[in-house]
């Protein structure tokens, strides 16, 4: 019987410890005043490049807010905003953003930065898109040669841009054998593309950040339609009273502040040899890329 008792004690010890630990977790979590929390819904590219890891600690230190960054595709980010489940969005899907604004889901949409989309593929370039200048022309060649194209297929900003180019090329790729959709983020989709030696449309930032492992070349760049423009949008507080309007505004203001814009300008130079994003606060969309 004695052995059993000591065993029971042992159980209790483990259990008590675990309970203490659990209670500790639960209490530590909402210690922040609730209006201190900001939910930032953003794209995977801002997280995968590491930009937010640099910017958010600066913002938190400066303002005392606590930012919960939820990195999803632009499509999902805007759905979260439209349901009032996020306070501020950092997204790159122009057409969807305009609809988001006209539906009254957001207030104050402001230009933050841009980089560009590029078409990457195997260095051997079986569809010979390297000679093309226009993205639509490149897509046409890919479809004609039936070279494998890997699509995000996840309703993200990059995916929206890709669909726009297919439309401009007059091609309906869905259902074709050479067209595959991953439903994954940019980083993983680039990995799949590299493995299958296919083509894909990528944002330059994520591509540069991952380049070392890929073995994919930039085959087409510089077309005006390939601009990748990031806006910060505050979710409409009037529509969703639980939205942290003050926090959202503080974050949006921070993103376009002089100091942040300077940080964006130099971000990535040291590690990747060239900047990943170009700061654009106060600029007009028409002037980008010139």
């Amino acid at each position: 019987m004695k052995r059993l008792t000591s065993l029971t004690c042992y159980y209790y010890l483990i259990f008590t410890l675990l309970i203490l630990v659990g209670v500790n977790t639960v209490n530590a979590a909402p210690a922040q005043p609730k209006q201190k929390n900001i939910i930032l819904a953003t794209t995977t590219s801002t997280q995968d490049t590491g930009l937010l890891d640099v910017l958010i600690p600066i913002f938190e230190k400066k303002t005392g807010y606590f930012v919960k960054t939820i990195a999803v595709g632009s499509g999902q980010a805007m759905t979260m905003g439209a349901k009032g489940e996020a306070d501020v969005l950092l997204v790159h899907s122009q057409a969807a953003e305009k609809k988001f604004m006209t539906d009254g889901n957001g207030v104050n949409r402001r230009l933050v930065m841009h980089n560009d989309f590029i078409i990457v593929g195997p260095p051997s370039d079986p569809a010979t898109i390297r000679q093309s200048k226009k993205a639509a022309e490149g897509f046409k060649k890919i479809s004609m040669t039936k070279a494998l194209f890997v699509s995000r297929g996840d309703n993200s900003g990059t995916n929206a841009k890709e669909n726009e180019v297919w439309k401009a090329a007059g091609i309906q790729p869905e259902g074709q054998k050479w067209y595959q959709q991953t439903g994954l983020g940019m980083g993983q989709t680039l990995g799949v593309t590299a493995e299958k030696k296919g083509y894909t449309l990528a944002d330059r930032g994520t591509y540069l950040a991952m380049k070392k492992n890929l073995g994919l070349d930039i085959l087409l760049e510089g077309d005006g339609v390939l601009l990748n423009i990031y806006h910060v949008i505050e979710v409409n507080h009037a529509k969703w009273p639980k939205v942290n309007a003050a926090g959202a505004k503080a974050f949006a203001d921070f993103m376009i502040s002089k100091q942040t814009q300077a940080t964006i300008k130099t971000f990535g130079i040291e590690k990747f040899g060239s900047p990943l994003f170009f700061p654009d606060a106060e600029k007009k969309i028409e002037d980008l890329g010139k």
Partner: protein, 232 residues
């Protein structure tokens, strides 16, 4: 292959240097999954024992439901918990979405049927006459249940390990309800997913190795407890 060796090397160097970020992530994983397993033990062993020792109409359906629950996909749990915890959802007022608490809830839902199902099987395996014998010796109902639980201890420890293993390795629910927020809800599995999508495969492997090491250490302790009174 080089990348795996590189990853293992990196795992060791992260552990030896006690890298504060990795330590924080590891500690959070253990806290969250440990708490979830603990809660699931109370619910799972409780209900599992009750179902095992009683008979009632529709019992087979309940048992089938519990056994199906053992295969609950974490992403589906994550999705439902997210919808329930949304600000504008039924439990929005609690404001626990994207907190460690939300991950504990989701993982508890995942672990409970596992613990319950194994408990159920374990208790049913005990000889029926044992119950009668215990009662005949004058034990109260509660004492009888307690003795039966002790009798099934070997299998119940397996339930603990299976439950803990299910949640410490789970990623779908954690990333959805926790949001993989740096320094707050980032656990070993969600960090591994993120590093993979960043293309930092060596770091991802390192995190995976650390996860396995800690899972091994915990199972070693649990196994020691389990095997101490192994019938010989």
């Amino acid at each position: 292959m080089d990348i795996i060796i590189e990853g293992i090397k990196q795992a060791l160097s992260l552990l030896i240097s006690l890298d504060p970020e990795v330590m924080g992530i590891t500690w959070l994983s253990l806290k969250v999954s440990g708490t979830a397993t603990l809660i699931s033990l109370f619910i799972g062993i409780g209900i599992g024992t009750a179902v095992a020792l009683t008979s009632f109409p529709g019992r087979q359906i309940v048992v089938s439901l519990i056994n199906t629950g053992m295969a609950l996909p974490p992403v589906v749990v994550g999705l439902f918990v997210t919808i329930f915890l949304w600000r504008n959802g039924p439990f929005g007022a609690l404001e626990i979405l994207y907190t460690p608490m939300a991950i504990i809830i989701a993982q508890t839902i995942i672990a409970t049927p596992i613990v319950m199902g194994i408990t159920l099987a374990a208790m049913q395996q005990l000889p029926r006459k044992l119950r009668l014998q215990i009662l005949a010796l004058g034990a109260t109902r509660f004492q009888m249940v307690w003795l039966l639980i002790k009798e099934a201890k070997l299998s119940l420890m397996a339930a603990v390990m299976a439950g803990f293993g299910g949640v410490i390795s789970e990623v779908g629910a954690s990333i959805m309800v926790g949001g993989n927020i740096k320094g707050y809800t980032r656990v070993l599995t969600t960090a591994t997913v993120m590093e993979t999508s960043k293309g930092n495969f060596d770091v991802a492997i390192a995190l995976g190795v650390i996860l396995l090491l800690f899972a091994f250490a915990i199972n070693l302790v649990l196994t020691r407890v389990q095997q101490r009174e192994r019938p010989r």
